[in-house]
Point group: C2
Chain length 428, copies 2
C-alpha cells in the first residue's frame, strides 16, 4: 500500500515531482520505505484540466479542493500554487484535516508562518518547506539538523536569482540596471512587475525564514529592512571594482549583543569572498558560526527540477516519519524569544557616493561632517571632475546604523553635498 | 537524567566537544530533548591523565577502555583516536556492547566500513561519522537526507585541505611543490611524512565514503585510482593559467553506463568553476544531479571546532533518536550492488605536457599518434624552445581511459617524445 499525496496546483514545479518519483523510484523506496503515489491533483478549472489531459497527463484532476481535503486516503498535501490566497486557506484546512503539508510558498510562510506552524503542531502533523528558501539548496534542513550543534552568528545570502542575474550582467558586462532588467524579463527570469525581485522583497521573505532556522527567532517581515538594486549606477559598479569589490544583493542576518538584525541590501563584497563568485541565477547561503567557522551552501535558487527535488525530499521525509511513527516533529525546533538589535549595535563599513562642488576645502568639509559623527575613512577616491562637480567616494571604517542615519541626514542638509548612494561594505 | 557519552581519546578535536556542548547548551537541549554528559574519557596512560588534569580538565579519565565499554550508563562512544588500531577493536567492542558510536575516522571507515556497519546493524545501534568527510561540511547527512529525492550523477570534491593549501600557494604565489610542502609542514598542516595528503590517499578514503552516500555503492579503497600533486611543476601551473584553468587535487566520482568510477587526481578546473575558487585549507564538494543540477557545499575540511561541530551534531542526532525510539536507523540507507565502470566509459579531456626535438615535422608526428587513437586536440600550445627541445602542450577533446592508456604508452615508446605530465581537464 503506497502513501497517497494530493497536489494543489500543477504548474512547472509540480510536474517535476513525478519526474523525480519515477527516475529515483528505487532509491526513494529505500529511503521512504514505501512508494509514493500522486492520487489527486487540484487544477483551476475544467479548461486547465482538459488542457493537461490533452497534453498527456493522466492524473485524477479535480477542480474542488474538498475532493482532496475530504479524501481520507490522502495523507500528504503538496501546495504549489503560490501567493497568499487561496493557498493559506487550503493549507489551513489540510492541516486541520490531519494532513501533512509540504509547500514552497515563501511569501505565505514569511507572513503567516507562525499561524500555520501552530496549526500544524496542534494537529500533530508535519509542515515542511525546504524549497521556500533558495530552491534547490537544502539550507533549512542543514541548519536544523547539521548545524544543530553549532551557534550561528551571521547568515549572508545571495537569495534572489533574478536580481543576481541582473547584478552579474551589470558587473561583468557593464550593463545598466534597465538593460539588465529588460533581458531578465525577456528570458523569463523577471516578471512584468519585477518589484518583489529587484527591491529585495523576495529576499526579505527568505531572510524571515532563515532567521527562524539559524537563530530560533521569528521576526516579522516588517523587521527586515530591505533596499533593492534599482538605484545602483554603472558608476557604483565601476568604483566597486576599482576598490576590489563586487556588488550583489545580499540578505544579512546577524546576532548582536542586543538582538537580531536582518536586512537585504546591495552590498560590496570583497572579490575573494566566496559569495562574490556566485553568479547568474545561482543562489548561495554563507553561514558564520562558532563551531564550523565559515561554510557555504550553493545551488540553483529556483527552477522546476531543483524546486521539485526539495519538495520531494520533504515528502520522502514525511513518508519515512509516518513509518517511524515520529511524524509530528516540527521542521524547525529551535526557538528563542525574539529580540531585535538596537541600531547602535548593527555595525558595518559603508560606501558613500557623493557629488560636491570642485573647489578648495570641499574634502575638508566632508571630513569634518564624518568626523563629527566619529566615523573614520578607510578608502577615499576622488574621480576626475567636469570642472564644476567632483565625484567623491568614501568607504568608511565600521560604523553603526545610528551613525549612518545621522551622517546621512547631515549630508542631506549640507548645501554643498549631494549624496547619490550609500551601500553596505563587507569587511574582509 | 542526561545521556552519558564516553570519549576515546582527548586530543584537539575531542576538546572541542565540551566547548560546543557548553556554548550551545540551550539549543542542544531543545534539539536532543535531553542533556549530554561526558561521563568518561579514555586516555593513553597515567602520564597523559596527569598532564590533562594539571591543565585543568576535570573529566573522569580512564586508561582502560573496558571501564567505558562495561559502563552500562554510557550509551554513546565517541572515537577520536584516529588510525586503524586500536580504534577498530574498540569501536567493534562498543557496537557489540550495544553502544552507539560516533567517529571521525575516515581511514578506518574507508577500509573497514562495511564490517563495522554490519556490526552496528546486527546490534541495532547507530554508527555515525559525518566528520569523516570534509570535516565541518555536513555533506554526508545532506546527501542521505536532502538529496534523497535526487539522482546524483557526479561528485567532484576538493577533499584534502593540506594539498589544497599547497596548490593554492603554487597557483597564486608561483611556489614550487617543495616550497609549498615546507611551509605546510611549518604551519602544521602537513605531517613530516606527508604521503597521505599529497599523494591523494586521504582524499581517496573520502571518495570511498562519498561513493556510498552519493551512489549507494560500496567500493574498495583499491578501486579508487589516486595520483598526487608532487609531480606538478611550476610550468604546468603557468600553462594551466594561460589556458584559463586552475589546477587542484580533485576527487571525482561518477556513474557511467557500465558503473561507478572513482579517482583522485590533479585536475585542470575552468576558472569560472565554483571549485576553482576554493582556496587554502578549505574543502568543497560539488554535486551534479538530475534534480538540483549543480550544488556545492563549502567549508573547513579539518580543525578542532569544525570537526567537533560535526561530531557533536551526530551525538545530538543519536540522543534525539533515543528519545524517538528510532535509533537503529543506518547513517546511510542507500545501497545498490557495486558495479565498476569500464575504462572505455570513463571519459575526460586531458592535458599532455610533452618535450620534443625542435625540428620540422614534430607536431605532425604528434598529431598522427593522437589521431591513430581517434583523439582530437582542443587546444595546442608550443612554448618558446631553447633551440633543441620544444615544449608542446596539448589539451584534448573528451577521450576514454582506454584511449589515455594507449596513447600514453605509444608516447612512451616514441623516441622523439618525452611525456612530462598528463592531467585530467574538466570541460566547461
Amino acid at each position: 500500500m503506497s502513501v497517497k499525496i494530493g497536489l494543489l496546483g500543477f504548474g512547472t514545479v509540480a510536474s517535476g515531482i513525478p519526474f523525480l518519483l519515477k527516475e529515483n523510484a528505487e532509491k526513494i523506496q529505500q529511503a521512504a520505505q514505501d512508494t509514493i503515489e500522486i492520487a489527486k491533483v487540484l487544477v483551476r478549472d475544467d479548461a486547465e484540466k482538459e488542457r493537461l489531459e490533452a497534453a498527456g497527463h493522466d492524473y485524477y484532476f479535480v477542480t474542488n479542493v474538498d475532493e482532496i481535503l475530504a479524501d481520507e486516503d490522502i495523507q500528504i498535501v503538496v501546495e504549489l500554487m503560490g501567493r497568499i490566497e487561496p493557498a493559506k486557506t487550503f493549507i489551513s484546512c489540510a492541516l486541520e484535516a490531519g494532513k501533512h503539508v509540504v509547500t514552497a510558498n515563501k511569501d505565505l510562510l514569511a507572513v503567516h508562518g507562525s499561524e500555520l506552524r501552530i496549526l500544524a503542531e496542534k494537529n500533530n502533523v508535519a509542515l515542511y518547506y525546504e524549497a521556500a528558501v533558495a530552491g534547490g539548496i537544502p539550507i533549512l534542513r542543514t541548519l536544523s539538523n547539521s548545524l544543530v550543534s553549532d551557534k550561528v552568528t551571521r547568515i549572508l545570502g545571495v537569495l534572489n536569482g533574478t536580481s543576481n542575474f541582473m547584478m552579474t550582467k551589470m558587473v561583468d558586462e557593464g550593463w545598466t540596471y534597465e538593460e539588465a532588467l529588460k533581458t531578465a524579463q525577456e528570458l523569463g527570469y523577471a516578471e512584468s512587475d519585477p518589484t518583489n525581485d529587484v527591491e529585495g522583497i523576495d529576499a526579505a521573505y527568505k531572510a524571515v525564514i532563515l532567521s527562524q532556522f539559524g537563530f530560533g527567532m521569528t521576526i516579522d517581515f516588517d523587521n527586515v529592512e530591505h533596499k533593492g538594486i534599482s538605484t545602483i549606477s554603472p558608476d557604483d559598479v565601476a568604483v566597486a571594482q576599482e576598490l576590489g569589490y563586487v556588488i550583489k544583493l545580499v540578505g544579512d542576518i546577524r546576532e548582536t549583543a542586543s538582538g537580531l538584525s536582518a536586512e537585504v541590501s546591495p552590498t560590496f563584497l570583497p572579490k575573494q569572498h566566496p559569495l562574490a563568485s556566485v553568479n547568474g541565477v545561482m543562489n548561495a547561503v554563507f553561514v558564520e558560526s562558532i563551531g564550523i567557522g565559515q561554510s557555504m551552501y550553493y545551488g540553483p535558487g529556483a527552477g522546476q527540477k531543483p524546486t521539485a527535488a526539495s519538495v520531494t525530499a520533504d515528502i520522502i521525509r514525511i513518508v519515512r516519519r509516518l513509518k517511524d511513527e515520529t511524524v509530528g516533529k516540527a521542521f524547525n525546533e529551535f526557538s528563542r524569544p525574539l529580540q531585535i538589535a538596537a541600531p547602535s549595535d548593527v555595525r558595518s563599513e559603508y560606501y558613500f557616493s557623493i557629488l560636491a562642488p570642485d573647489k578648495n576645502g570641499t574634502l575638508l568639509q566632508l571630513a569634518e561632517i564624518f568626523n563629527a559623527e566619529e566615523i573614520s575613512f578607510k578608502q577615499i577616491l576622488q574621480q576626475a571632475s567636469d570642472g564644476e562637480q567632483a565625484h567623491l567616494v568614501v568607504v568608511t571604517h565600521s560604523m553603526s546604523k545610528t551613525q549612518l542615519e545621522r551622517v546621512t541626514s547631515t549630508l542631506a542638509e549640507a548645501a554643498d553635498f549631494m549624496l547619490q548612494n550609500t551601500f553596505k561594505v563587507l569587511g574582509e
